[in-house]
């Protein structure tokens, strides 16, 4: 993403130069924007670290005098089980849909058949539909399978509705693999599966990283299915957090600490692997 940076960096950004007014304005705007993005984080941390009796609307902005780490263990006691549910759900659903997406993308980009693009467009539509439009039949279907209230119903839903995006990302990824490679392998007598196993799969690691990060984040953060297809034992963390924060009697350090627990996994993924996260983001906008 930053390949062209050095070229336009040269004229203005050389070090040890006196700052021009334009540059000063630029940094001022950047700091202002950063404040907008970071102030909520400050309040989140400050509130999570206060003890319940120190939380007072008038002193919202004050950093706690004494840090109260117990908020986190209290929050974990309430939603820790849901965090573990989310972890199991996100890992299982992500791996399954990544594998499906990889096979689909390979078949669609390297073994094109007539109408493949139309079929793919029909598949992609599933990525954009509001899930409210399929929720009632989905609920009935999961119930009829006996999976209502089990995490497996949720896994199934996430795998199926993950197919469009994982297929899209892998299809675009494999489009950059030269067809000559496939033809050479065909001449050597390799078939569909041998080419996948020996040629395509080994070079798919970056594609898998993008898809896994993207799907993990999506599944972890999802709320609608979580709220409709599960019961108290199988609820993922998003639903548990909404219940924790929605209650009136709870003091605010608890939902704030809970929000941190619920945000940490995806936040870590983003901070450690941000480059791939952004790639998934850009793929989501259907750049064909």
């Amino acid at each position: 993403m930053t390949t062209t940076a050095p070229a336009n960096a040269a004229p203005t950004a050389t070090p040890r130069r006196p700052l021009k007014p334009g540059r000063i304005l630029m940094y001022a705007l950047l700091i202002l924007a950063a404040l907008f993005f970071l102030v909520p984080v400050y309040l989140l941390l400050a509130t999570a670290l206060k003890s319940p009796d120190a939380i007072n609307l008038a002193t919202t902005w004050h950093w706690p005098a004494a840090l109260n780490w117990a908020s986190f263990s209290d929050a974990w006691a309430k939603i820790g089980g849901n965090v573990l549910n989310s972890l199991f759900l996100a890992v299982t659903a992500t791996l399954l849909s990544a594998l499906l997406g990889s096979l689909n993308g390979y078949a669609l980009s390297k073994w094109k058949f007539r109408g493949a693009n139309t079929m793919f467009a029909l598949m992609l539509f599933g990525m954009f539909i509001p899930y409210q439009a399929i929720l009632i039949p989905l609920f009935q279907f999961i119930k009829s399978l006996g999976l209502y209230g089990s995490i497996w119903g949720l896994v199934l839903a996430h795998v199926v509705y993950g197919i469009p995006i994982t297929t899209l990302i892998f299809r675009n990824f494999y489009a950059d693999v030269p067809d000559a490679l496939i033809e050479a392998a065909t001449i050597d007598g390799a078939g569909f599966w041998q080419i996948y196993g020996r040629v395509i799969f080994p070079i798919s690691i970056p594609g898998f990283v993008v898809v896994i990060i993207w799907q993990f984040t999506q599944v972890w953060n999802e709320f609608l299915f979580a709220a409709t297809l599960t019961n108290t034992t199988s609820q993922p963390v998003t639903y548990a957090l909404s219940q924790l924060a929605g209650g009136q009697a709870v003091s605010w350090n608890l939902p704030m600490a809970g929000a941190i627990l619920a945000a940490l996994p995806t936040l870590l993924v983003y901070i450690l692997l941000g480059r791939y996260f952004v790639r998934g983001l850009l793929a989501g906008s259907v750049k064909g």
């Binding site: 950047l30 909520p40 689909n104 467009a121 539509f125 439009a133 039949p137 569909f192 619920a262 064909g288």
Partner: protein
């Protein structure tokens, strides 16, 4: 390559499970939802959860109820809210995202760090964002207290609970308003077609516009959807939710625009400079036109997100706050709290139609150009 080889059959075999799953879970379920929306399932609470409920076909009654029924004023306000929400949310994300991308494109020091800061909310769920901002927007807390940090008076705006609304209009005027807006669009289309010399198009668009205006002039004012006037507008309680949504999603538009800006070849900028364009002229005539397709695709992605948003509202204002409610939230409550499945399915179908208006032309154009190139 060759016709139906063994490999080709394998590729179809590999795709088959996904195709079947999508066919059932997307298209089959949509059909089923549409069917349910035309029954009375759950309108009688006793039948809703019965083992073998008696379900009758009622046609478009549920839809008629939503748009004109006495009890469904909440849904109509939500429909208006979701349009305003989408409008301001998209404007906010595009404006802030483009601004940030333009600044980052000038290569400030520590670019990676700035990018990380602007993008991190994207990795959070709407529930987490909503929980944080719910606390920020407490009536006497966070944002309202901020002025006191600088010695000012604390604010008094009722962020998530205000019942004031602006830009109100009578629901009875909706057909009239719609006809006028569509008519104006058609006039613009006719003028553009006339300029490019497309006569049939000019005539068709012009005739349709004329028909609509005639209708709006003579019949429209007498159409009454409801017996009494019913005012709907932009609820001010939504402002807080829009700010939170922009906070979460503007990093996305920034990333899109930044990728676009970095994709503009340096030679183009050089050429513009050689031609004597100043900075402003270069942005106006070279860079912004090249970013137009990105704006369109961002609008489409943000638009469909905003039409179906409900978790943010649920987490920020609670499910029962009528001032901030949206159709997607109403659908969930109607179906899974009140067990009125048919009515819920109707709301879901209306949402699908709204989203399809945005998505279908986009997907179609994407794949038409692609097939053309192939």
């Amino acid at each position: 390559m060759k016709g139906l080889s063994k490999d080709r059959l394998w590729s179809i075999a590999v795709l088959t499970p996904s195709i079947i799953l999508i066919a059932v879970f997307v298209y089959g379920f949509i059909a089923r939802s549409v069917y349910v929306s035309m029954t009375d399932w759950g309108n009688d609470p006793a039948q809703a959860l019965a083992l073998n409920p008696i379900i009758r076909w009622v046609g478009f009654t549920n839809y008629q109820d939503l748009f004109t029924g006495f009890l469904q004023g909440r849904f109509r306000q939500e429909l208006v809210s979701t349009i305003f929400f989408t409008l301001f949310f998209i404007l906010g994300c595009l404006g802030l995202g483009l601004g940030l991308a333009l600044i980052l494109d000038r290569n400030p020091r520590g670019e990676g760090l700035w990018r990380t800061i602007f993008l991190f909310p994207m990795s959070l769920s709407f529930i987490v964002t909503g929980t944080i901002w719910r606390w920020m927007l407490q009536p006497e807390g966070g944002v309202n207290q901020a002025p006191t940090l600088f010695g000012g008076q604390s604010g008094t705006f009722a962020w998530l609970s205000s019942t004031d609304a602006i830009l109100k209009f009578d629901w009875n005027k909706l057909p009239l308003l719609t006809a006028s807006v569509v008519g104006l669009v058609l006039v613009v289309m006719a003028v553009r077609a006339a300029r490019s010399g497309d006569r049939t198009r000019t005539l068709v668009a012009g005739a349709c516009a004329a028909l609509l205006f005639l209708w709006a002039l003579f019949i429209g004012p007498n159409v009454k959807l409801l017996p009494a006037p019913e005012l709907h507008g932009f609820n001010l309680a939504l402002i807080g939710i829009i700010i939170a949504a922009v906070w979460q999603m503007s990093g996305y538009t920034m990333a899109l625009y930044l990728a676009g800006l970095r994709g503009i070849p340096e030679e183009l900028r050089e050429a513009a400079k050689v031609d004597g364009a100043n900075d402003l002229g270069m942005y106006q005539h070279v860079i912004f036109p090249l970013l137009a397709p990105i704006t369109l695709s961002a609008m489409i992605v943000l638009g469909h997100i905003s039409l179906k948003i409900f978790d943010l509202v649920y987490a920020m204002a609670g499910p029962d706050n009528i001032a901030t409610s949206v159709p997607a939230l109403n659908m969930y409550l109607t179906s899974f709290r009140q067990n009125q499945f048919a009515l819920g399915a109707a709301i879901g179908t209306i949402l699908l139609i709204l989203v399809a208006f945005v998505i279908v032309p986009y997907l179609a154009s994407q794949f038409r150009t692609e097939e053309g190139h192939a």
